[in-house]
Symmetry: C2
Subunit: 158 residues, 2 copies
Amino acid sequence: MFDAASLSESEKRTDPKIRLEQMLSALRKNDFRITPQRLAVLKILAVSKGHPSAEEIHSRVKEDFPTTSLATVYKTVTLLREIGEVLELGFGHESSRYDGNKPYPHPHVICIRCHRIMDPEIDALTEMSDEISRKTGFEILNHRLDFFGICPECREKE
Amino acid sequence: MFDAASLSESEKRTDPKIRLEQMLSALRKNDFRITPQRLAVLKILAVSKGHPSAEEIHSRVKEDFPTTSLATVYKTVTLLREIGEVLELGFGHESSRYDGNKPYPHPHVICIRCHRIMDPEIDALTEMSDEISRKTGFEILNHRLDFFGICPECREKE
DNA sequence: CTTCATGCAAAACATTTGCAGCTGG
DNA sequence: CCAGCTGCAAATGTTTTGCATGAAG
């Protein structure tokens, strides 16, 4: 698992404890219960620097709370997605990945070899969104920008 | 089915007959056989202005060639994807959609109500790609840029 | 207490695969 | 001919769902 990524990215993350509090408040505000299982999932999401899959979340949650089922993990991330506290990155084939740190659309760079996912700096995206609105008449609510390629480490190994 | 989209998009499409020939040559060049089933799938892809799903392709292919199985459709689009003659647009949940007219990455605008997909004009994407390369050290091979929102028609109906 | 959450197992999907038989070149 | 393709059905892998039991508030 390659979560180390670059320092510049990790530096920008919200402090895990604060992020956890934010997610907890979001649950409370919407009158959802805070169960041990949910708490465990939130903790993983708050602490993860990367973009864990449901399966990954599940196995990590089980360390803390061994009886947690995969279904509960799915129910929890779906709930969090609905209240805007998690970003779901769906890929056609493999399983989805989740980002609990930046639950709003942002670009990704994905290594097709080791599956590491990074969050690069890009601006000019809201402008692009506006441009699309103007040209197509769509009301743009959301977007997704992913780049696929080979990360420096995997390129070295070639 | 809302394939009419905007004139400016459809005007840019390659003529279906030419596109079909291109796909056929690609198959021949790679020593793949041209079977009636494959021909039927190619025809649908060449003629479609939109972004049909495997299921849609299948039901349209069956009109011409009733015994064609869904598995063959999948095998064919997968083959075409591998030789770069079709772009697969995978969505986490629902089924993938395929574009046989512009088999290279390009932005999409997707209506979350009627599921119409349009191809807007955007430049500045290759620049963006280069910027990412420079900043992350990734070798960028591919990308995906999708905007989600509500199309003018669906907005009127509200 | 009562409503909502959990966990299991089963269902629901889209997609892939194994394989016997068929067919394009 | 015969390697490669088809079509069926079964397998796969992820995500969802129904429902009885359990726990949060």
